[in-house]
């Protein structure tokens, strides 16, 4: 019966999660108007610095091992915060792009499609990067490559800007702070 209990608990949790997602989806539909305010600027330069392997190598050569681990973990925590924010921004941009997909203007719809695809790629890469960052926090001496995330974020910013221009040429757009 232990197996049955495990499966019953798993089933109940799954049902709660599915219903939770379904309810959240319907609530999100009604709150699309405030999407833009959810975007948080990301300081790409600071992110680049934190992700720079040369910086890590420099710190490794200068600091005692225990001290390096401590500093590296702190840097990784900061890096994770940046990635999470970038990922959240991408999620908001997916929804903004999807709203614009229905536009009658072909150029706007195309830009929206591009934005959605790039934002989805960033979202996927952000999840992947977070896994690697958390793994690196467990083993601080390991190497970490987060550069692809940064490149994707740069591309995403360009796509968002293009969409913003097409939709409303008078309103300035920014999703990254340089």
């Amino acid at each position: 019966m232990t197996l049955a209990i495990i499966l019953v608990i798993a089933a109940v949790l799954s049902l709660v999660a599915i219903l939770g997602v379904a309810i959240t989806r319907s609530l999100q539909i009604s709150s699309d108007a405030s999407l833009a305010s959810q975007i948080r600027p990301v300081d790409v330069e600071a992110f680049r610095n934190l992700a720079d392997p040369v910086e890590d190598a420099y710190l490794r050569s200068r600091l005692p091992v225990a001290e390096f681990r401590k500093v590296r973990r702190a840097r990784l925590r900061a890096l994770a915060a940046y990635v999470r924010t970038a990922g959240k921004n991408a999620a908001v941009l997916v929804r903004m792009g999807q709203n614009a997909l229905a536009s009658n203007d072909a150029a706007t719809a195309e830009a929206a499609q591009q934005l959605v695809n790039q934002a989805l790629l960033l979202r996927r890469n952000a999840a992947h990067a977070l896994l690697r960052i958390y793994a690196a926090m467990a083993w601080p001496n390991s190497h970490l490559a987060a550069a692809p995330i940064l490149d994707r974020y740069n591309q995403l910013s360009g796509a968002a800007m293009l969409l913003g221009r097409l939709q409303n040429p008078a309103v300035p757009v920014r999703i990254a702070v340089w």
Binding site: A10, I18, A36, Q167
Partner: protein, 271 residues
């Protein structure tokens, strides 16, 4: 429906509506399947069945499965063992149809995004394989201690099927929520009905397959039947009631310094 003790047939005029072969029991077995058959017919008439071909097949399969199993269960001259033989076979067919249906739902949700189409395929393949191994491991531990092996085997098969189905549907909902994917209204309804039904069926079949609540099996049957009824009503709503499309305002992008942004972007591109 899925009773091992099926001596009492026809409509029972017992004290409890929660007994097997009570009016409620008959209603819960008959109504949702007739409704599902009717839904299939409506989809056909509206020409929507081409868009949801696998669900259409699933709906008709359920209706036909009922049309075969219900008389076998009710007609007292047919041995109970025959019911379970037919049930075991139809469960196998149902499993195949449900997996194809879920695969179609994954393709529909992820396939419209170039960036995620490949990920969607990977998810269903790997998660499906992992869930199948898990289901096999759970099934292997369940007791098969009945003279008619296909009775406990049917329980185990149902348990295994719902481990995989509920796991895949959960994965679908969680990943779609993570990526903020926009669902097709009807596909969402199909997945929701399937998910709700699969989770409840997983719990009840897990208890049955592992020999739990032996004296209260009829209650588990009723829970399964009632849940399937709810799922059918969900499918009716999402497939027949048009989506109320809220007029979305043109996305107001955040106010910011475009000039500075442009200048810095160009500087980056020139590096």
């Amino acid at each position: 429906m899925f009773l091992e003790e099926r001596g009492c047939r026809g409509i029972v005029r017992g004290d409890s509506m929660f007994e097997a072969h009570s009016f409620l029991w008959h209603y819960l077995w008959v109504a949702p399947n007739l409704l599902l058959g009717a839904l299939g017919g409506i989809l056909w008439r509206r020409g929507v069945h081409k868009e949801f071909r696998t669900f259409f097949v699933y709906a008709w399969f359920q209706a036909v499965q009922w049309a075969v199993l219900y008389p076998i269960d009710v007609i007292s001259s047919i041995p109970a063992a025959d019911f379970w033989r037919v049930y075991w076979l139809s469960s196998l067919l149902e499993s195949i149809i449900v997996f194809i249906l879920i695969s179609d739902i994954f393709a529909n949700v992820f396939g419209s995004y170039a960036a995620l189409a490949h990920l969607g395929k990977l998810l269903i393949r790997w998660a499906g394989a992992l869930l199948l191994i898990t289901a096999t491991a759970f099934g292997a531990r369940a007791p098969i201690d009945h003279p008619f092996w296909f009775i406990p085997a049917s329980h185990v098969l149902q348990e295994a099927m719902y481990v995989v189905v509920s796991g895949l549907i959960l994965l679908l909902f969680v990943s779609a929520a993570y990526f903020r994917l926009a669902w097709n209204h009807r596909v969402f309804g199909i997945a929701l009905g399937l998910g709700v039904s699969a989770c409840v069926h997983l719990a009840t079949w897990a208890v049955m397959a592992n020999g739990g609540l032996a004296e209260k099996r009829h209650l588990l049957d009723l829970v399964n039947l009632a849940t399937f009824h709810v799922a059918v009503l969900i499918w009716f709503y999402y497939l027949l009631v048009p989506e109320t499309v809220a007029r979305k305002p043109l996305v107001a992008l955040p106010e910011n310094n475009l000039a500075v942004w442009n200048r810095e972007l160009e500087r980056l591109l020139q590096q």
